[in-house]
């Protein structure tokens, strides 16, 4: 099959008519771009391959209904972005993957946070934290700023672990009420 002369539009028309050979041309044309994109964000070859698979399978199985309003390249770029996020959403919930993703994906993600925005967040959070009741504030700071575990805090303050948990939950609850969802992000980053 002579393929080099085919435009994306031609290829897509043929794919829509269930032409497997045309899909192979599309695949060969774009797989590497998608793979490199995914690999730069999920530094694992097998994860990046899974993402490319998902993009391609989805495109092939939905060829009859997918309506490409932009270019094929733009569509695939948006698709790989979506699949990378969908992959992370799934993987972040898998016990077996968490530790490794915290070492690979998380730091990279954090490096993309605007430092100015982060500062602004943190000063807002600090203002709210300092308004918390004294005991609650102490527990909150030990957990968030000193990164102590619930057990360590309970020993340090000589209260039960359940008390520590209750205090923490109450503090998050109060902060959430005052800071709205937007600022929660900042709370997570306090010790960075």
């Amino acid at each position: 099959m002579q393929t080099c002369a085919l435009t994306d539009l031609d290829i897509w028309q043929r794919v829509r008519q269930d032409d497997g050979a045309a899909f192979k041309v599309l695949f060969d044309r774009y797989w590497e771009k998608l793979y490199v994109y995914a690999l730069n964000r999920l530094p694992s070859e097998s994860d990046a391959q899974d993402v490319v698979q998902d993009v391609m399978i989805s495109l092939w199985s939905r060829r009859a209904t997918v309506n490409i309003t932009t270019t094929l390249a733009a569509y695939l770029h948006a698709a790989v972005q979506y699949e990378v996020l969908a992959f992370l959403s799934r993987a972040s919930k898998l016990a077996g993957r968490k530790e490794e993703l915290e070492k690979t994906v998380l730091p990279a993600f954090i490096s993309f946070l605007d430092p100015l925005q982060l500062k602004e967040f943190q000063s807002l959070v600090e203002a709210e934290v300092s308004r918390l009741p004294e005991k609650m504030q102490q527990v909150y700071r030990l957990r968030q700023e000193k990164d102590l575990s619930v057990r360590e805090i309970s020993r340090l303050l000589d209260v039960s672990e359940q008390t520590v948990r209750n205090q923490l939950n109450a503090s998050y609850h109060k902060l959430r009420k005052h800071l709205k969802e937007a600022m929660l992000t900042a709370i997570f980053f306090q010790h960075f």
Binding site: K24, Y35, R62, A78, A182, F188
Partner: protein, 312 residues
Amino acid sequence: MNIEQLGDIIDRYLAGTATDPEKSWVEQWLQQRPEDLQSLAPETQNAVHDRLWQSFAARAGWQSARPARIFPVSSKWLAYAAAVAILIACALWLRPATDHLPVVQTISAQPGSHKKVTLPDSTVAHLFPGATLTIPDDYNTKDRRIALTGRVFFEVKADAARPFQVTSGKIVTKVLGTSFEVMATDSLHAAITVRTGKVGVHFDGRPLAELTPGKRLRLHVQRQDFSIDDVNAAMLCEWWNKGMVFHQEPLEEVVQALSGWYNIPITITNEKWKTEPVTIRLRNLSAGEAVSLLSQTLGFRYKKDRNNIIIY
């Protein structure tokens, strides 16, 4: 901050409910980077390409990477029995990062494990491994519409006021209260089996057939026709506890079901076996035992190659 919190932010982003700072943060990470334009080293390039293509072909249900038959656009209407679930992805891809996406829930059974779910109207769905259901947020308000890919058995809660209908590509199955199974695993075959009650099957907007209990409708896209036969629906439709039952199915489709069930690629290299009809029940077996039993029944030979099983 840990990865779970990041996962939550991503989930909100995908659902269109992320806050502005969260949204711009995710988008900064997604943004094109200079290193995205680099090519792979030639030796890795070939290896990765081949691996990707082979597993794509296996997952897409292509027996080999040979060109599929081309149907002219104006050919008979059956040329498009494509089974498609409109994933939320679709909406997201076409309009990335808009705030008011239609809320759609998708439920999938991973390859290698099946899933039983109860829908908001207490209809029960059994998802064969690899199947996906798409449920719009207005499900069970005026009517009960659902889309699927793969194989799903429904026990529909009777509710005459809210018709229940399942869409898979151009095939729409409508019911009032009944139990039936829809199987639309690829674009070339679809099957609808009725266990109780009565269902109407529509294709591309036209009524195709009304099915009563024990009837199975099979679409054959290649032959551009459909057929209705009598099956033991109770056996066929209860694969999650009675095992997988096949009734005069071509081996190609049986193997596809096994691949999904066990999450192991199984390929048939010898053309003549693909269409061989199989009637068998496979229950409580390992993948190897199932293939061995099939091989004794039909007489084909097979070999294990790393994680694949090849029938020849």
